[in-house]
Subunit: 679 residues, 2 copies
């Protein structure tokens, strides 16, 4: 017992010493992410009993950075329980053995060891890990011109104009970071896809990236434009039942696989927001998807077909994906996966789950989560998204899904994600894609040591302050942007600031906030109960009943499902208006609390990182007040009700806020937000 | 008894009906100030038993606006107790008699009646009013080019380029407003005086104004440049002991009095901030003042000689007026009055009284108060100054003063004062100059009915909210700008925003905030105790002893007199740092509370007035946070101490605030302050 304790302590000291050595030498720039530096060579003894590039990388990672005593054996060994990617780590005295069915499994095992080392945790019992999903995919909304739709961390990582001749060292760093959290697929280009990505010229470029990613267990996928046969080769149609069209796709797939034998397949946004698709030719989504799936099938490729559709056929956009896709259940080939956004509208700070999940029992489904903060403050706000995804997995059981996709928040900024703390969202997406049973708390405690603290020995109360800051951050965003189930009050276009009043000429009604908040003198909220759009009928029990009545509907989704009077009595006893005001206030106070946690941690954080986050937090605090003022001034004008006494008065007038123009495109995070922006 | 009651009620109803009639007809534009509209003719019966223009105006004002029943008799009648300007109002049945020694006295009596009418108060007993000071003077810091130094309500009222030919109707309105609150002198031009005001050309212009003001009992004064003989007529010197110089001033006075027989005299800023003065020629302030006084004496004119001097002879600017002027006690002619700013530095949100008051028993003294909000948020912040002046009269007994001057906040803006609520400061100055025993509460209750409510019948709780808003406003400014005796943390030049860090190249040390706050790692505050500059020694008992020790010095002047450690234990038990932080927080919360009082009063306020003040309050709220953030971030960096948990975190970074440049001159109020301003 005493001996075991001693060993524990000595391992611990070794690990801490290793960390100190590795982190203190260089200034923080965020480039390293949560990974150990390649320069931290301790010369660990690694015995490699496996072939292939992935296994070799596993061995090298441990030689570079593992600081435990004893020998680490990496061994490929048949073990049905582990599947393609799983691994087992077996400690024995000072030595460790990692086994897996593949080199990639060994690589994941190696990163597991380094993760434990970063957390200062000893490996003192057998660890067995098998991922929950076979497909763990990042979706890049990167355009070929280098811009990123909803990208807030600079330009695209992919330097198409340099490829295939010139190769950025960051391609490999990117693959390494993904592998370290278990991501095994990347869609390189925007779902609003240029057909050019399928041209011979671009396939040559994609091949280079695929070659770099392959040793890290990562397959390349491409977003395909459904009209590519017409656009690239002037076919008269893209009708999926047209033989020439089908032939074109078969030939295209042959061409791709000749260059990239393990090409993953296509992601398709069809008949959505102006993109072409099978419905243009009187065909169904299933007919379109299956045609492409058949071209990929001989090569083992897959189609990920997005269910994000909302043609203006019904008064409630939230119902439309279900209405269009549910009837197609059973009509899709088995190498098609229907990719569904977590909520029925569009990545709002809080949505209920999309009722399409579980409603197509004969169709493979996957969830599309958004890692980039399109609707959660871009790269300016701390919004740790694991709690949002944890909430999602509380509704939608991982077992019901075949795969998982995350819309990446990665760009060519030195620190990859713009906001340094947004690295945690990339990390969390990967970790949850591997193991959706992880709690947000577990993930943040895994990430913080390497992601924030570096070599510092941080007191427990400071750590818990920072953990709380991360864990409360998404709810803070909900509170100061859109509490109580409100949604899509965003400024037209850039989705950053509040414009509940916005009403540009000629805009689609379902692109306007008033479509969603429906505020009038009688009250606020979208009636989706049986007396309204009855979107509730799409939900399975127990949710259908729960959401149908305002008395049982949870407060945090109340105005998603109900239009209620301003003086509606909430569970707290307060009026709806007062409660709404208090949520906005709470959101602002929460940001202040987050700032104070960060300030207290100052001595334990690299100065560059500290200052960067400090400044972004100040912007977030200003923005929170901007949101609160914009929404409460606007709704206050409609409700005619006064601010409750415990809510801070506005520091703007509605007139001033109506005049705000951030002047940013959909590819940018605003720099200092309100401080310098006027129409 | 019942009959008396009935009469009371009927009078009251008549008055209210009159108000409704008079106020509801026109939209609010602020131009009318607190005065009844000239169009509100009720045809009151007025019997005029006096001659002269002032008495005639008195009668006309009552005929235009008095809505009581019965006859009002205006009668000049010798009555020693009333002095030059006093009056007596005697009710008798439905009739009233006003008596005075002069037409001006009758005019003041008439305005008293209209004031009571505006408040809805019946005249049911004898009223006797005699002003506390014979001289009640507004100082205009208006330049001849139309700019106003520290003016935030547009350009100068005086259109010099139009005079003497063209006469603005506002000259008369201005005189009427002054007379209605008892002001009987105006200095037309800036103390940083252009000699041109004494030229023949300008005397002709001034004469026109004097003619307009005379019927309202107002005398005109001019700020004189001490070097005028050199500048206007190329004399080789302005030495006050030079015979030609003395002759020049005598001639100049003869010339002025030929045009303006009741000319009041000169206001002089000499040897102060670069202005010329007798010290340039080796003479004392007394020798300079007396030379000018002797030129004025034959005509009955006076010299108001400012004691605002601070040559860099001593380490403590706060001591210098006393050091330079106290030894001159008894040396001034009796038609010289030494004009002393209320505090020893310069119109800060809170200063102790200047120790020069009472320290020159053989010299007439007058106080110079500042009505314009140079250091209290310009025309953007609500800062009702009566409480500050009430505080001053708690220290300096009115009986010890010969006269009183206020630096005007009036410009050519339609509403006269920029901030509509700043009209209350003009009003309050006049009322306190007449009767310094009035409380701030009495004054605000006098002013609000005509100044804000108009024709509205306002519920008691709303009224008390607005009264509180006004009464707490100056302390709020102190809290969010410079609590605990801090002073002069202002941005260089425009004195609007915070720049405790400001340090432009080549600036005089005593123009820099660090000269005043003296913050260092050990603590903060200016040690003026015996261990420091010993400015305390200039104070009489009991103040000298009270201020000498930090344990007896009131909290609100603590850092004016003491440099104390950051962890100094305050009377509250908190550390100095925490207390400082909480004052800034309290100031921000106070503005929010003021906003909420205003919002609640919305139904009772003219929409134009409501919106104007609402917007300025939002600016004030933003500015309060700007001040709090700027000061606490800066001092926090020096103290190294963390924000207490009950204080909101900053919404700016110090770097951002250091970069702020409002881009305004000393003649402007910033328009939207922080929203749109960067270096």
């Amino acid at each position: 017992m005493v001996q075991a304790m001693n060993k524990y302590i000595s391992t611990f000291i070794t690990i801490v010493a290793g960390m100190l050595f590795s982190m203190s030498a260089m200034a923080y720039d965020g480039a390293r992410l949560w990974l150990p530096a390649a320069s931290d060579a301790n010369g660990a003894t690694v015995k490699l009993e496996a072939k292939g590039a992935a296994a070799a990388i596993a061995a090298q990672e441990l030689r570079d950075s593992w600081s435990g005593n004893g020998t680490v054996v990496l061994r490929v060994k048949r073990d049905k329980a582990l599947g393609e990617d799983g691994y087992r780590i077996i400690p024995s005295g000072d030595n460790l053995t990692v086994t897996a069915n593949s080199g990639t499994g060994l690589l994941y095992g190696a990163y597991h060891l380094l993760r434990m080392q970063s957390m200062g945790k000893p490996v003192d019992s057998v660890i067995t890990e098998v991922p929950a999903f076979d497909l763990r995919v990042l979706n890049h909304w990167d355009n070929l011109d280098g811009t990123i739709e909803r990208g807030y961390a600079g330009k695209s990582l992919w330097k198409w104009e340099e490829l295939p001749g010139k190769v950025s060292p960051r391609y490999k760093e990117y693959a390494r970071a993904n592998a370290s959290v278990g991501i095994n697929g990347v869609v390189l280009n925007n779902v609003n896809a240029s057909s050019r990505i399928l041209s011979r010229e671009y396939i040559e470029k994609v091949r280079v990236l695929a070659d770099i990613f392959r040793p890290y267990g990562i397959k390349v996928y491409l977003s395909a434009n459904f009209a590519a046969p017409m656009q690239l080769d002037s076919l008269p149609t893209a009708d999926p039942l047209d033989k020439d069209v089908a032939k074109w796709w078969k030939k295209k797939c042959d061409e791709i696989y000749a260059a990239i034998p393990d090409f993953g397949g296509f992601l398709v946004k069809a008949n959505s927001e102006g993109q072409p698709g099978p419905c243009d030719f009187g065909r169904t989504h299933a007919e379109g998807a299956n045609m492409m799936a058949r071209a990929l099938r001989p090569h083992g490729g897959k189609v990920m077909w997005r269910a994000f559709v909302y043609s203006p056929v019904d008064a409630d956009r939230a119902k439309q994906a279900y209405m269009e896709f549910q009837p197609l259940d059973g009509k899709f080939d088995d190498n098609v996966i229907v990719q569904i956004k977590n909520g029925p509208v569009d990545f709002q700070p809080r949505e209920p789950f999309s009722p399409l999940f579980g409603a197509m029992p004969s169709t493979p489904q996957m969830a599309e989560l958004q890692v980039t903060q399109e609707y959660l403050g871009h790269a300016n706000h701390v919004a740790f998204l694991a709690p949002m995804w944890e909430e999602f997995f509380g509704w939608v059981k991982p077992e019901s899904l075949k795969a998982i996709a995350g819309v990446a928040n990665i760009g060519d900024d030195e620190n990859w994600t713009g906001h340094p703390l947004a690295q945690a969202n990339w990390y969390a997406f990967g970790r949850l894609a591997w193991n959706p049973a992880l709690t947000s708390g577990e993930i943040v405690r895994e990430w913080l040591p390497a992601g924030v603290y570096g070599s510092h020995d941080v007191p427990a109360d400071i750590k818990s302050g920072i953990e709380d800051m991360m864990l409360m951050s998404r709810e803070a965003v909900v509170d100061y942007m859109m509490p109580l189930g409100l949604h899509h009050l965003f400024a037209f276009g850039h989705h950053y600031g509040p414009e509940p009043w916005c009403n540009p000429e000629g805009a689609r009604p379902d692109w306007l906030p008033s479509y969603y908040h429906r505020a009038d003198s009688a009250g606020i909220g979208f009636d989706r109960s049986p007396s309204g759009s009855n979107a509730i009928a799409q939900y399975p029990e127990p949710y259908r009943s729960l959401y149908a009545s305002s008395s049982t509907c949870p407060d945090n989704l109340l105005l998603w499902f109900h239009h209620l009077p301003w003086d509606y009595k909430m569970k707290s006893g307060a009026t709806l208006w007062d409660e709404l005001c208090r949520h906005y206030e709470r959101g602002c106070v929460a940001v202040s609390d987050m700032q104070k946690s960060w300030m207290k941690a100052k001595p334990y954080i690299a100065p560059e990182l500290y200052r960067d986050v400090e400044e972004r937090l100040a912007t977030q605090a200003r923005d929170a007040i901007w949101w609160k003022d914009g929404c409460l001034l606007y709704f206050g004008e409609i409700s005619g009700m006064p601010l409750p006494d415990d809510v801070t008065a506005p520091v703007h007038t509605l007139e001033q806020l109506r005049a705000v123009d951030l002047g940013i495109s959909n590819y940018e995070s605003p720099s200092t937000s309100l401080l310098n922006s006027k129409r």
